[in-house]
Symmetry: C2
Subunit: 322 residues, 2 copies
């Protein structure tokens, strides 16, 4: 029997298959199935963010399984909620799928979304969504969260604070280099990963790229500890630290011990935060200091970095998919 494709089933059938994967996870007042979800927001505030993964600039199907893709689409959004000091409570998922995709891929994607919530942000669930066909596989996730105290913005870093980070720096970028460097054929087309050819460290880097696991629970912990500024490192430490420095009107002095991967590699979704020195909570490591604004936004070992690094899809995408 040939594999069932999205184009072979009607929307209702596909939705039932997805709901079966998500069953029992909703914690909302009104969950999936009505015109809109209704969610609890203690404290009368909600944190909301959206981030999209698009086939081509953001992932290749030769390398990412449906589970990987769902997991990553959730993780990158959960990290943005955590970076405000909030606890993620709900995802809404707008999925646009080519008719040629296997139905099982869509089920795996839903499973990956659920797994990321269960592992990274217990209590968070997929509470709504939308399903349409498209020539381009696109996963647009909106994440919502709640705050115990005040939101932690990227603009609050104060001279005298320390700069600290929680989570990996550089691993996801090394994983991307492994994929592009070793798992394409002579024409440049992506080919499936052969894990047997990779060391344990390389496998970890690959996992960081394909299925990132940022320290979501440390976001609210950092907020409670008194973080003065926070953001997630999505585009590389130097680039994102520059954004924090500019928003805060300070200079961030980063340690000379950070290597090039840590400084410029994107997509780790580590949490970058500033604290009074005595306030740094467990799970964060100090990587620098906040100084009064000098000419440079960021220095590394006292030197102004030349390359900012970071992934700008407008600059870098070569229109390939695979």
């Amino acid at each position: 029997m040939s594999e069932q494709r999205v184009g072979d089933v009607d929307e209702g059938t596909l939705l039932r298959r997805i709901f079966a994967v998500l069953e029992g996870s909703s914690a909302a007042i009104v969950g999936p199935g009505d015109d809109a979800a209704v969610l609890r927001t203690p404290g009368e505030r909600v944190v909301a963010t959206t981030d999209t993964l698009v086939h081509g600039p953001d992932f290749r199907l030769a390398w990412s399984s449906g589970t990987d893709l769902g997991f990553k689409a959730a993780a990158v959004n959960l990290a943005d909620v955590a970076a405000m000091g909030a606890r993620p409570t709900a995802l809404l998922v707008a999925l646009a799928v080519p008719e040629s995709m296997p139905v099982s891929f869509v089920e795996d994607l839903a499973g990956g979304l659920r797994a990321a919530c269960d592992e990274l942000a217990p209590g968070c669930a997929i509470e709504g969504g939308d399903l349409t066909v498209s020539d381009t596989l696109t996963v647009a996730v909106t994440a919502l969260g709640v705050l115990e105290g005040e939101p932690v913005r990227r603009s609050g870093a104060r001279p005298g604070d320390v700069v600290a980070v929680a989570g990996a720096l550089g691993a996801a970028s090394r994983g991307l280099q492994i994929l592009f460097g070793r798992f394409r054929d002579a024409t440049g087309t992506p080919v499936p990963v052969d894990l047997d050819t990779l060391s344990a460290g390389e496998r970890a880097d690959l996992a960081a790229q394909l299925r990132p696991a940022p320290p979501i629970s440390l976001g609210p912990i950092a907020a409670a500890a008194g973080a003065t500024a926070m953001m997630d490192v999505s585009d590389g430490l130097v680039l994102d630290a520059t954004r924090m420095a500019d928003a805060s009107g300070v200079t961030l002095e980063l340690s000379s011990r950070l290597d090039a991967d840590a400084l410029t590699g994107g997509e780790d979704h580590a949490l970058l935060a500033t604290f009074a020195a005595a306030d740094v909570p467990a799970g964060f490591r100090v990587i620098g200091a906040v100084r009064p604004r000098a000419s440079a936004s960021v220095t590394v070992g006292g030197v102004v970095p030349t390359g900012r690094g970071g992934w700008d899809p407008y600059r870098d995408w070569d229109a390939a998919r695979g």
Copy 2:
């Protein structure tokens, strides 16, 4: 000078152009520009929904301007919030754009999103978003809203209630028929609309399709008046009334005076609601009655409708764009 394209500018420049269009509209505690937005949610609940427009199954660029597309992407989501009895407060917009699109199109799209909020849901604003490149123009909108009282679900219709509707029924479908019937060339490729060839009524139908204006403000009014069930009519009255009847465990008897366009035409995003007969608020018109569950979910003039109508992109999309 040739027109500037998305692929000609970096992400920061494009974001600045979009922010310029949205400037001054944010009412959030934290608006666009940080990792996530922070929104007020009086009553400790938030209503959340997401709906996507994809180039091909949902719109054609020969027919929809950027302004039209932004307006419609907002309107369809605002209608889902209103259909819960909620007042929309914020949109988050995940935009995936081909590099070949004019920058001015993206600005127009942002302007259309803003205009829909201003016209249909004053106080609602675009509070966050995401921008990526893609081969397929995709606008995924998430709408959030707040409730004064309890959410109005589609499952609360009670025998003895009347069935009422606010907003147009059938106009958007007639508009789609005009586009497909009269504004394609001999090969079936969409061509720009010549308004001079249309009657006033036809122009109104076209506007209903390209730039729908559902009665968003009547959602909270219906809730306050005691609506027992409510939903928006996105896929055609008979199909959506069937969903309401099945969710509520009742039969909806609809009037024989409804014409075929009203019964089967989709995309109007009218509000379908049930009320005790004395509670129907101004703006709603009675179109039927709720009866104890019989064998059929819906009857029209006492007859079980044969065609349910409604737009199922899985069934109908022919893979064309234009």
